[in-house]
C-alpha cells in the first residue's frame, strides 16, 4: 500500500514485516527514530519480538550476535559513533557467519562531533566482513531491508543496510509498504543449523591458530564474493513480486553512448537522477553502486565500458589517501582495456547539502582534471592552514 511515511518509520514497518525474533535497540541520532518506531510497534502489539533495549551499541551488536547464534532472526540499527563502538562485534558476527541484519543510518564520525550525514561510519567498518548495501531513497531502503534478511539467511553473512541519516531517515515521503502475505512468501522462517541447542551442543567462537587462520579468512572472502549472486537473485525475485528492483549490485541510468559517467552511493543518487532529467547538461551515465561489499568488480567494469571519464563520488574520505570508493573503483578497473579516466571527489561531508546543481559540477570535474578533492569545499572558510 502506498503511504506517506518518514523513512525511519518505514524501516520499522519493513523490519516488522520480516518478523524478527529479537531486536536490539539503542538510540543515536539519526538512527533513533527507527528503534523508537519499532518500540512503538511492540508496545502497540503490532510486532511480536523480543525487544532488548540495551545500554550501548556495543551491547546491541552483542545481543543480536547472541540471538542469531541462538537461532532467532535478529535486527538492530545504529549510526556513526555507535557503529564504531560496535566495530569489534561486527567483525565477530561476520567471522562467526551469523545472519544479522542492521540498518546503518549513515552519519559522520567525530571529532569534531557532527550528527549529519555522510558515509564515514559504514566506511570505517568496510573490512568487517559485512555485506553493505546502500539505498538511494526510502523505497529502496524498505525493499533492501526485507531483501537483507533473505540475503543474510541464504549466505549466513550479516547485512548492513546503509541509508543516509536525516536525508532518508528523517524524510517523510511517498512509498509502498508491501503486504505481510507477500513478505511471508518472500522470506521463509529462519532456520539456523548451527543454532545453540542443548540437543546438539556446538561450540561457537573458537580459537583458531596460524595453522588454520588463513583458511578462515579465505573462506570469509569467498563467502562475500559469492554473496553477489545471491544479492542479484534476491532482488530479481523481489522485482518479480513487486515490480520494483532495489538496484541489484549496481544500477546504471543514462544514454548508452555517454562518454562520461558518475558513480555514487546513497541518497545523492536520487538527487542526481532528477538533475539528469531537469538540468541541461551533457549526456552522462549515472551509476548507483548499491553493493559496496561485496564490491561488484565485473558489474562496474562492464558499466564503464565505452566511457572516457568516470567521476567517482565519495561521501567520506580516508585522510592521507583520498576517497575510499574512488580508490576502490580505481583498483577495480585497474588493467581494464580502454578503461575510463577516473576522477574522485568527495561531497556532502557531515551533512553539507548536495543540491541539484552538484550534477553539472561533477560532470565538469574531468575538464578541471586533478586528483582527489572535496568538491564542495569552501576555501574561504579554511583560514590559515593549521
Amino acid at each position: 500500500m502506498l503511504e506517506a511515511l518518514e523513512g525511519s518509520q518505514a524501516i520499522a514497518r519493513a523490519v516488522a514485516l520480516c518478523r524478527p525474533g529479537v531486536v536490539a535497540a539503542y538510540p543515536i541520532t539519526p538512527q533513533t527514530h527507527i528503534v523508537e518506531n519499532i518500540s512503538k510497534l511492540v508496545a502497540d502489539g503490532k510486532l511480536n519480538t523480543e525487544l532488548v533495549s540495551v545500554e550501548s551499541e556495543f551491547s546491541a551488536a552483542s545481543v543480536v550476535l547472541g540471538a542469531s547464534a541462538a537461532g532467532s532472526r535478529s535486527y538492530t540499527a545504529s549510526s556513526s559513533q555507535g557503529i564504531l563502538l560496535m566495530t569489534e562485534v561486527l567483525f565477530n558476527i561476520s567471522g562467526m557467519r551469523l545472519p544479522v541484519v542492521m540498518t546503518c543510518a549513515n552519519r559522520a564520525i567525530g571529532a569534531p562531533i557532527n550528527i549529519w550525514n555522510d558515509h564515514s561510519d559504514s566506511m570505517a567498518v568496510r573490512d568487517s566482513g559485512w555485506i553493505q548495501l546502500h539505498c538511494a531513497d526510502n523505497q529502496e531502503a524498505v525493499d533492501t531491508t526485507i531483501q537483507a534478511f533473505r540475503i543474510a539467511e541464504a549466505t549466513e553473512l550479516p547485512v548492513m543496510v546503509c541509508m543516509d541519516g536525516f536525508v532518508l531517515t528523517h524524510t517523510l515521503e511517498t512509498l509502498e509498504i508491501p503486504d505481510q502475505d507477500l513478505v511471508d512468501r518472500y522470506l521463509p522462517p529462519f532456520v539456523f543449523n548451527r543454532m545453540l541447542d542443548p540437543q546438539n551442543p556446538l561450540s561457537l567462537g573458537t580459537l583458531v591458530g596460524p595453522e588454520y587462520f588463513s583458511e578462515t579468512r579465505h573462506l570469509a572472502h569467498e563467502a562475500l564474493n559469492q554473496s553477489a549472486s545471491t544479492i542479484v537473485d534476491v532482488d530479481r525475485e523481489w522485482q518479480n513480486l513487486t515490480g520494483r528492483s532495489a538496484g541489484g549490485l549496481l544500477s546504471v541510468e543514462g544514454p548508452d553512448d555517454a562518454k562520461i559517467g558518475v558513480l555514487a552511493m546513497g541518497s545523492v543518487v536520487s538527487t542526481f537522477r532528477e538533475a539528469m532529467d531537469c538540468l541541461a547538461a551533457e549526456p552522462a551515465k549515472l551509476m548507483a553502486l548499491r553493493a559496496f561489499r561485496p564490491l561488484p568488480e565485473e558489474a562496474i567494469r562492464s558499466a564503464c565500458a565505452g566511457l572516457d571519464h568516470l567521476v567517482v563520488v565519495d561521501r567520506a574520505l580516508s585522510p592521507g589517501f583520498g576517497g575510499i570508493v574512488g580508490g576502490e573503483i580505481k583498483a577495480a578497473l585497474s588493467g581494464m582495456k580502454d578503461a575510463p579516466q577516473i576522477y574522485n571527489v568527495a561531497i556532502g561531508l557531515g551533512g553539507r547539502d548536495v543540491p541539484l546543481e552538484m550534477w553539472p559540477r561533477l560532470l565538469d570535474v574531468p575538464k578541471q582534471g586533478g586528483g582527489f578533492r572535496i568538491l564542495d569545499l569552501e576555501p574561504a572558510k579554511l583560514g590559515e592552514m593549521s
Binding site: G21, V22, A24, T49, E50, V52, S53, V54, E55, S56, F58, S59, S62, V63, V64, L65, G66, A67, S68, A69, A70, G71, S72, S74, E88, V89, N92, M96, L196, D197, P198, N200, P201, L202, S203, L204, G205, T206, L207, V208, G209, Y212
Partner: protein, 326 residues
Amino acid sequence: MSEMNDPRARQPRFRGLEAGHRACQGCGEALAARLVTESAGPDVILTNATGCLEVFTTPWPQSAWRVPWLHSLFENSAAIASGVEAALKAQGRRSKVIAMGGDGGTFDIGFQALSGMLERMHNVLYVCYDNEAYMNTGIQRSGSTPHAARTTTSPPGKERMGKRHLKKDLLSIIAAHHIPYAASASVAYPQDLRRKVRRAMEIDGPTFLLVHSPCPLGWGHDGSETIQVARLAVQTGLFPLVELERGEVASVMPLRQRVPVAEYLCRQARFRHLFADDDHRAQEEREHLQALADYNIERYGLDGDGDDPFDADGADTIRRGGPANS
C-alpha cells in the same frame, strides 16, 4: 582403563566440561567451570568472555564443552547472553543461559554489559571466575586484584608495594542492581558452590555468582595447593562467602576460627614482597590486608558461633561415601 569398559561414559554426573582442555595444572578456573556446569546440568547455553577459560577449552577443531557454548569478545559475555536469552524467549525455549567471564571481563571491561544485563532482568546466571588479575595476557592487575598483590603491571619496587588500590567490591555493586540472587563462592567449597549454582538455576531472572578461583601461575603457588589457598582466602575473611537476595545479605558462611591473613599470603609468590625482613612497608601492608579481612568479617558478621556444619571448617567435611553436607 582395564578395569571397566569406558568408565568415562558412565560417570554418575553430568560433564559440562570434558577432559582434554588445556588449562594449566591445578587451574582453579577450570575446576570452577567444571563444577558450575556439572551442577547446572545439560539444559543450558553458555556464553564465555575472552580469557583463559575460552582459550584453553576451544582451540579449534576441539572443544571441551558438552553444552552449547558461545564466545564472542572479552567484554560482551553478558550482552551476548542477553541476546541468547532473548532468542530463547522469542522461540519459547526454556534452557537456562549462563554467562561466564573472568574478573577482567567482569569487574573491568565487561562491567557495563553485565550491569545492563542485570538491569534488564534477563534470565541469565552470570558466573565470574575470579582469579584476581588478567591471567590470559600474563598476569596484569585488574579491578579485582587485591591490594598489595604483585602483578606485571603492579610490580613492587622502591616506590610501590604491589597494587596500590583495593579490590573492587563488585558484589556490592551487583547488590545495587537488586537482582533476585547473588553470591560469592569458592572452589575450595564445592558443595557450597554447587548449592549456589542450583539455587541460581532455579530462579527465573538475573543471578550472579562470584567464584574465587586461584591461578597457580599468577598467584605463585603450586598447582596442588589450589584448594588450600582458596580455602585460606575464605578462612581469613579476605574472600567472604555470602549470599544476597535482592541486594540484602541473606546468609554468610561463618568462620569457626579466624585464620591470620599472613597464612594465606605467605603461600603465594604474589605477596612475597610482604615478607621482606628489611622493609618496614611489608608489615604495614600485611597489617592493611589483615585490617581488610577484619573489616569483611565485621561487615558481613562472619564470626561463627560454635561448631556449625556449614561454617568454613565444617562445610566441606567428608565422610565415607562422600561429602558430609551434600
